[in-house]
Amino acid sequence: MKKLINSPDAVIPDALRGVAAAHPSLHVDLENRVISRAQRTPGKVGVVSGGGSGHEPLHGGYVGFGMLDAAAPGEVYTSPVPDQILAATQAADAGAGVLHIVKNYTGDVLNFRMAAELAEDEDIQVVSVVTDDDVAVEDSTFTAGRRGVGGTIVAEKVAGAAAEDGADLETVARLATEVNERSRSFAIALHAGTVPAAGKPGFNLAENEVEIGVGIHGEPGRERGEFAPVKELVGYALDAIHADRPISGDVLVIMNGQGGTPLIELYGAFAEAVDWLDGHGATVARNLVGNYITSLDQAGFSITVTSLTDELVRYWDAPVSTPALRWGV
C-alpha cells in the first residue's frame, strides 16, 4: 500500500512541520509533539485533548479560539505518552485549571491519568472527562467500556466555547460530561484503512461485506454484515443508536467520513439520515457533513447524534476558529 510519506517513522514529525507551516495561529512544539494556540488567554480554563494520530482533523485540527487550547498527538493509532500530555497541559494552563477530554481507550485513559498526576505535581488542577459514545460496544463489566468517538468533537466544541466564555473548570467539565451523556455514535466500514507502519489494510472485507460497528482504529464492533444500499446502512446505524438512547427532539448530527469516502457519498448518507430522523419525529437542528474524525484512508461513515438543549446549541453556535471548524469569526 503506497502512502504519501517519507517513512513510517517520520509521519508524525513531518505532519507537525506541515501543521506549523500551515497555521500561523497555532504553535507547534515539535520536540514534545504538542499543538497549541499561539496565544494564551489569562484566567481561562484550558481544554486539552489528544490520542493516537490517524484521526485527523481530530484533535490538532480543533485547536484554536473557542475550542481546544492544546492537543497531544500520539503515534498513529497509539495514545500519546504522559510527558507529552503534560506538555500540552502546561501549554493550555492559564491559571484556571485544565480539562482533559479523553476518549475511552485503555491506553488513552492510563496515559492521561499519569499525565494528570504529573500536572498536579506542578500545581496545575486537572479534571478529566472520558468520552464513550460508541454504542457498537456493549458497555459492560466484560469490556474496556464503550469507545470514545464522534461525540468527542461535540464535547470539545461545547467545552471550548464555555471556557472561552469564562466558565470555571467545574462548569466546563460538567458540560463536556453532559455532551457525552447526550451523544451516541455508530460506524460502518466498507474497507479498512492502512497504518503506514503496517503497510497493509488493517482488516480484509470481501466484496459483499461491511464491518458493522467498527471502531476508529479499525477495531471490529458487532459483526461482519452484508453490503447494502446506503439507506439501509444508515438505518442500521440509527436503529442501533435509537435502541440505546431514544432519539427525539432537536439533535445535532455529524455525518462523518472515515477518511476514504468521497464527500458526495457522505451527503447522500446524510440525506438518508435526515429521512430516518424525520420519520422518527426528530429534528436535525445542527449538522456537520464531512471528514471530522477519520481512520486514515478507511472507507465508510460514522454517525453521531447529540440530543440538544438550548445551552448546548448556544455553545455549539458560539464562534470558533480552528483549522477544521470555523464560524462566527
Partner: protein, 206 residues
C-alpha cells in the same frame, strides 16, 4: 541481583521484543490495533537509553529508570502498565538482593499493573502471563532455587499462561471490543510478558 544484571535484563528484553516485533504486532492486529510490537520495541529501547543516561546506583534505580523510559515512549495501554510495573519493581528491589527479594519485586510489578489496569487473571491480558510467573518464581525460590532456576520457572509459567490466553474471551483492553471473536488468539501483552521473563532467565544463566 546486581545493577549490571538488572541492566542486562532490560537490554535483553529489548532485544527479544525487537526480534519478535512482527509477531507481537501480528498478534495485536488479530485482536487489537496492530501496534504492540512497535510500541514495546520503542518503549524498551527508551528504557535501555534511560538506564544508560546516568549510571544507575542500584538495581532498583535501574528498574525505575527503565520504567520511566517505558512510560515516556511506549504509548498505548502497555506503556503505562509496564512502566508502572517496572517502577514498582524497582522500588521494591532497592539495592538488590537475593532471589527472594527479586520475587518480591516481581510481585510488586504484578500488583502495580493490576492496580493501574484493573484486570485480574482470566481477562486475557499481561496479568495472565505475569501472575502465574510470579507464583512459579516464588515457589521455586521457596524451594531453594537460585535466581536463574527461579527465572526459568517463571518464564516457563509465563509461556504456559500465554498459551492459556488462547481460549479466553478478552474483558480488558482493545481486544474486549471483539467479544467472542477474541477467542482463539494469544494475547499480545501476555506474549510480551513471556519475553520479558525469558530475558531474565537468559541473563541470569550461569
Amino acid at each position: 541481583m546486581d545493577t549490571a544484571t538488572t541492566i542486562a535484563w532490560i537490554t535483553r528484553a529489548a532485544e527479544l521484543v525487537r526480534a519478535d516485533e512482527s509477531r507481537l504486532t501480528a498478534l495485536d492486529a488479530a485482536i487489537g490495533d496492530g501496534d504492540h510490537g512497535a510500541n514495546l520495541a520503542r518503549g524498551l529501547a527508551a528504557a535501555v537509553t534511560a538506564m544508560g543516561e546516568k549510571e544507575p546506583e542500584s538495581p532498583g534505580k535501574a528498574l525505575i529508570a527503565a520504567g520511566r523510559g517505558l512510560v515516556a515512549k511506549t504509548g498505548g495501554a502497555s506503556g503505562p502498565l509496564y512502566g508502572t510495573g517496572f517502577r514498582r519493581a524497582g522500588k521494591e528491589l532497592g539495592d538488590g538482593g537475593d532471589v527472594g527479594q527479586v520475587g518480591a519485586a516481581l510481585e510488586a510489578m504484578l500488583r502495580g499493573i493490576e492496580e493501574l489496569g484493573g484486570a485480574t487473571q482470566g481477562d486475557k491480558t499481561i496479568i495472565d502471563a505475569l501472575a502465574p510467573a510470579v507464583v512459579a518464581f516464588q515457589e521455586a525460590a521457596g524451594n531453594g532455587s537460585d535466581l536463574h532456576a527461579a527465572a526459568e520457572a517463571a518464564a516457563d509459567a509465563a509461556d504456559a499462561g500465554l498459551a492459556a490466553t488462547v481460549p479466553l474471551q478478552a474483558r480488558k483492553g482493545r481486544a474486549s471490543y471483539l467479544g467472542p471473536r477474541s477467542v482463539g488468539h494469544e494475547d499480545p501483552g501476555a506474549a510480551s510478558t513471556a519475553l520479558i521473563l525469558r530475558a531474565l532467565a537468559d541473563v541470569t544463566a550461569p
